[in-house]
């Protein structure tokens, strides 16, 4: 089993690396295509989705990441990462692209300005205790396709965590609140999803 890669172009990648390290999970920083070799999983962190989108193209990571997702590499996106894993986005900038992988429509910055950002306890399917989650200018999942499982919602029913096979996307930041349960969930996913790094 290889390490879990964390896309380190922009955003709170350090917090993801620290969370996995605290769990004893081996990690590697991904900044160029060669860093993608031999991974058992990949994390797309929080940050600014427009910036991560541009930089992933600039540094030649976009196409290999799309290919790896297609071949079944387990991938976990938080906030901006969820946007980048969505097949469709609303309120993006005109030129903004995503990697895709989740058959969902995601609305960027769905709550409004930073004044609407909040923290809350979330019930997450498959995790016993509530998870303390920070929603920072967060996106929301507006529509889900038939293959998509909803793992968490807000009180009003709005969807904030989804999984489709090897792809996990959440609109909040467990890595900022010191939560480890969802990272453990993803590390487990990396063990159980059948992905061979070669062929």
């Amino acid at each position: 089993m290889g390490p879990i890669g964390v896309l380190c172009l922009q955003g709170d990648f350090r917090e993801h690396l620290q969370t996995f390290e605290a769990l004893g999970v081996e990690t590697v920083r991904v900044r160029k295509p060669a860093d993608l070799e031999g991974l058992k999983g990949l994390v797309i962190p929080g940050g600014e989705s427009t910036v991560i989108d541009k930089l992933s193209s600039t540094f030649g990571l976009r196409d290999p990441i799309i290919e790896l997702i297609g071949r079944g590499l387990p991938v976990f996106g938080t906030c901006a990462g969820l946007i980048l894993l969505a097949d469709r986005i609303v309120d993006g900038v005109a030129t903004q692209k995503t990697f895709g992988g989740l058959d969902v429509t995601v609305q960027r910055n769905a709550f409004g300005s930073q004044l609407e950002s909040f923290e809350a306890d979330i019930r997450f399917e498959g995790i016993e205790e509530p998870v303390r989650a920070a929603f920072i200018r967060a996106p929301i999942v507006l529509e889900t396709g038939p293959e998509v499982s909803v793992l968490a919602t807000l009180n009003d029913g709005r969807v904030v965590a989804v999984r489709q096979g090897n792809v996990l996307g959440i609109s909040f930041h467990p890595e900022v609140t010191g939560e480890t349960a969802i990272h453990e969930y993803f590390a487990q996913m990396c063990k159980t999803v059948d992905f061979k790094s070669r062929n």
């Binding site: 380190c8 172009l9 922009q10 955003g11 709170d12 990648f13 350090r14 917090e15 900044r31 929080g46 940050g47 600014e48 427009t50 910036v51 541009k54 930089l55 600039t58 540094f59 906030c79 901006a80 309120d91 993006g92 900038v93 030129t95 960027r108 910055n109 409004g112 300005s113 930073q114 004044l115 609407e116 950002s117 909040f118 923290e119 809350a120 306890d121 979330i122 019930r123 509530p130 920070a134 920072i136 200018r137 919602t153 807000l154 009180n155 930041h173 900022v176 609140t177």
Partner: protein, 299 residues
């Protein structure tokens, strides 16, 4: 299912959370909606909306104040990335207005003319988060005590001379390293000398790092400048006059973004530094008489 969703906005964690998301990014000064769009397209992680960039404030003189709300509204409407705006040091009413305009962050900034030569804004009273400048650790920790959610080293804005930014980040991070090597009983005097609360001084000594995200600012004009700051240990950079006072703002902005990400890869830095046209002309900080040094504002 959520609990407490209503009453958990604007917590310290939520305020600091946005700064965490900006890390590794470039925040660009813009004075029009068109510039804001150029900045967003070039990969800015946020924009700072203001009426005049620091180089023009310096050249034109006079009292520099908060921007016109119409301008801030236009900039907020033109981009999808976070928008910051500046209030004068100590001018809590400008800050109230900026909060009412729903900016994402307020910069209590020495680039504007100070409104209070003794007190800074009590930032705990606000729901919107604040970023504040600092030239040394004591100043940084005083801003933390007042409720800042993000820090930036000041540098000397509007000069295109990176030497003050270098001095300030070296000072701040050097003082953090010095604190972390002190014994517990030496921290009382350290707190007195830093003019910062003992509890915060203890926290920095114990963790060996600042309690907040630290960007750097003031004089960054080239991709190499941005990478220099990142190699020094900054979490990200502010670029003020350096972009829109240069020959080709879009190309320079994009190059600085790439350099900030690939700050430790000289091959990438060489590539992105090519063909950017004229950098801003700049002023050597050493040629600035002391009363015109903005970094000395703030207490």
């Amino acid at each position: 299912m959520t609990d407490k969703a209503k009453d958990s906005k604007s917590t310290p964690l939520v305020k600091r959370g946005l700064a965490e998301m900006l890390k590794g990014g470039v925040i660009m000064d813009v004075v029009t909606a068109d510039q804001a769009k150029i900045a967003e397209d070039a990969g800015a992680v946020a924009v700072m909306a203001l009426e005049r960039v620091p180089a023009d404030i310096r050249a034109q003189g006079g009292v520099a104040r908060m921007s016109d709300p119409d301008l801030i509204d236009q900039i907020i409407a033109s981009v999808s990335i976070p928008v910051m705006a500046k209030a004068r040091i100590g001018h809590f009413v400008e800050a109230q207005i900026l909060q009412s305009l729903k900016v994402d962050y307020i910069d209590e900034s020495e680039v504007l003319s100070p409104a209070d030569y003794v007190h800074h804004i009590d930032k705990w009273k606000f729901d919107v988060p604040f970023v504040c400048g600092a030239t040394n650790l004591g100043e940084a920790l005083r801003r933390v005590t007042e409720g800042a959610a993000m820090l930036r080293s000041k540098g000397e804005a509007g000069t295109g001379d990176v030497s003050e930014a270098m001095k300030h980040i070296r000072t701040i991070l050097g003082e953090v390293r010095a604190l972390s090597s002190k014994s517990e009983d030496e921290l009382y005097v350290a707190a007195k000398e830093l003019q910062a609360p003992l509890e915060l001084v203890r926290e920095v000594a114990r963790t060996g790092k600042l309690p907040l995200v630290l960007f750097t600012a003031g004089g960054i004009a080239t991709p190499a400048d941005a990478a220099l700051m990142m190699q020094m240990g900054a979490d990200g950079v502010f670029v003020g006059s350096g972009i829109f006072k240069s020959g080709n703002p879009a190309a320079r902005a994009s190059a600085i973004v790439k350099a900030t990400t690939s700050f430790d890869d000289p091959d990438v830095l060489a590539n992105v530094s090519r063909g950017l046209g004229e950098a801003m002309v700049g002023i050597n900080v050493a040629d600035l008489p002391a009363p015109h040094r903005l970094s000395e504002r703030g207490w």
